[in-house]
């Protein structure tokens, strides 16, 4: 852990964050808005990577955790008009409870079976949002009366600060003894258990941490958008983007996941002139990375550094 503060990765990350923090002084609000969303997305991807890369759980439903956090915060604000911060906190708490519920089958079933359980969780959430349209706004979306701030620069700094803090906590956790136990239990649960580690407790903790950050980020995102809709925080397609980000950036690296998310969103925007082909090109690039650089961006960079 101490080695990290002198490693090249730390200085590069620090330089990136410092540079990113100065952006509001010379780029347009449009770029800031794009990056704000990308940063929240980065937290989704990092939280997913903690579950998959370290606990070895293939979570097809990151948007279940994100959606529960986002909608809880949104509904509380819409129905009761509670303060934004209280709503965000309660959203994150609701997400933690959802993560706990989602973790229960994970401790019983493995691999594809667990993957499907999480996918079903998303589909159920989506169905319930449509069925209880009075409360949730249904397919049209939920209008959220309050926002944190309307200043693009302030929103950007909040998102950047939030992503940096989350990255520090999640990365620290992944490098800590807890992260190592998680990694061991993800790769060989029987052996890790035989060594005397409580796998159930560690996996549950991983789910709760992942859910907390997903929900918090989801809640912050809807207060930035001013609306919550199935298409932006719950849809399976959003979850796919989160997974692709993490694999693209490099699984089991945490920081790479954020990188992948930023790349995915910025690339999607750059390709907007190509119209409907944008998603095609992004998916094709992601597929090529998966096939030829299975370690992802950061994985490839780190292994090169380790070799030299």
């Amino acid at each position: 852990m101490a080695g990290f503060f002198t490693s090249r990765l730390f200085f590069i990350s620090l330089a990136c964050v410092v540079f990113a923090a100065t952006l509001p002084f010379y780029v347009s609000g449009y770029v800031l808005g794009l990056l704000t969303v990308a940063f929240y997305f980065g937290v989704f991807a990092m939280a997913w990577d903690l579950l998959f890369g370290f606990a070895g759980e293939v979570n097809f439903g990151p948007t279940f955790l994100i959606g529960v956090g986002a909608y809880t915060a949104g509904i509380l604000n819409n129905q009761f008009g509670w303060s934004v911060y209280l709503c965000i906190l309660l959203g994150a708490l609701a997400s933690v409870i959802a993560g706990f519920v989602l973790a229960l089958p994970a401790l019983r079933v493995r691999g594809p079976y667990f993957g499907l359980t999480t996918l079903v969780a998303v589909l159920m959430l989506q169905n319930f949002i449509v069925v209880f349209a009075d409360l949730t706004g249904g397919e049209i979306g939920l209008t959220i009366p309050d926002v944190i701030t309307i200043n693009a620069g302030a929103n950007y700094w909040i998102a950047l600060g939030f992503m940096t803090t989350s990255a520090a906590i999640l990365y620290g956790l992944s490098q800590s003894p807890i992260g190592l136990v998680l990694q061991a239990s993800g790769q060989d649960p029987v052996q890790a258990g035989a060594l005397g580690f409580n796998i159930v407790k560690h996996k549950l903790a991983a789910f709760i941490v992942s859910a907390f950050f997903s929900g918090l980020s989801g809640a912050l995102l809807v207060f930035y958008f001013g609306t919550a809709s199935v298409g932006t925080v719950v849809d399976v397609a959003v979850g796919v983007n989160v997974i692709v980000s993490a694999v693209l950036g490099g699984r089991r690296t945490v920081l790479g996941a954020a990188l992948g998310a930023i790349f995915l969103i910025v690339a999607g925007e750059f390709l907007r002139p190509t119209g409907e082909l944008a998603t095609f090109i992004v998916s094709a690039v992601a597929l090529l990375v998966v096939l030829f650089f299975p370690g992802g961006f950061l994985g490839a960079a780190l292994s090169r550094e380790a070799r030299s």
Partner: protein
């Protein structure tokens, strides 16, 4: 009256689900691959059949054949361009190949979906049915096409059963699903068996896709739901178990139809999802799955 209607409609839907899920489960049983581009391949087949009629002005039979051929080509492309490179890759650790195949086929499916949307728009397309008209069964006005769909599905599944259990190639496929190493020790080449399985899969997915296009119509938006429904049917039945998938397809098909008729079409998928979660809790390996 309504009971008969549910019985008939449910049967056609279930048979279609069964056909779609059979190929999916076969591939998993033999090579351990969950092909998440399944929905995209089915939609590609349906769109090809539709384009054959409305763009190339072919008759319905040639259109249907073209659809199946497209699915076959897509299945081979999926295997050779995505699945095989991942399986043979030395840079991906073995225990992570599963998630890479999932991610890879998912991305591949999105690519197919986007291309379809680009060239043929997102609009829903209905393939002209091979048989037209309506008949009266027990007082229920049933489109002939619906009966045709059900019959073709049952026939194809029956043929598949014969192929797997009664031919030499089929027995090799069956053996590979039981013990791949044993098969190679007997001097059969595993890669060749995989190619055969993907060919069978392509034909099955193609027929299912074309029939779906005739029966309900498809659009590029149906890709995700189709993959998800095949996935859940297969898991409900027990991964890799073909008979389990058939039972699960009928359970899901009827559950959806009953819900749609008796409660509301809006709640159509919810009971099936609840059942799935319930089964996963009490019997994680599915109805007929082996652990």
């Amino acid at each position: 009256m309504q009971a008969f209607q549910i019985l008939i409609d449910g049967f056609a839907i279930s048979a279609l689900y069964a056909l779609g899920a059979t190929g999916f489960t076969l591939i998993f049983g033999v090579s351990g691959v969950l092909n998440l581009s399944h929905g995209a391949i089915m939609v590609a087949a349906a769109v090809a059949a539709w384009a054959a009629a409305s763009v190339l002005h072919l008759d319905t039979y040639s259109g249907a054949l073209l659809g199946v051929a497209v699915a076959l080509v897509m299945a081979f492309a999926t295997y050779f361009a995505v699945v095989k490179p991942i399986q043979n890759s030395r840079r991906i650790p073995n225990e992570e190949k599963e998630i890479f195949v999932l991610t890879g086929t998912l991305l591949w499916g999105i690519m197919i979906q986007e291309l379809i949307a680009y060239f043929f728009t997102n609009n829903a397309k209905t393939v002209l049915p091979i048989v037209e008209g309506v008949v009266d069964i027990l007082g229920v006005r049933t489109p002939r096409n619906e009966i045709f769909t059900a019959i073709v599905c049952c026939l194809v599944i029956g043929l598949l059963w014969l192929l797997v259990n009664r031919t030499r190639t089929g027995k090799a496929v069956l053996a590979a699903s039981m013990n791949p190493r044993g098969v190679t020790l007997l001097g059969l080449e595993l890669t060749r068996i995989y190619v055969v399985v993907w060919a069978i899969y392509g034909v099955l997915a193609g027929i299912a896709g074309v029939l779906l296009g005739m029966f309900l119509g498809v659009s590029s938006y149906s890709v995700g739901p189709l993959t998800a429904s095949a996935f859940s049917i297969v898991v409900l039945g027990g991964l890799g178990s073909v008979s389990g998938s058939l039972i699960a397809a009928f359970v899901v098909g009827y559950l959806e139809t009953v819900t749609a008729y008796l409660i509301s079409p809006a709640y159509r998928t919810i009971p099936a999802l609840l059942l799935l979660v319930f089964v996963m809790y009490i019997r994680p390996q599915g109805l007929l799955g082996r652990r």
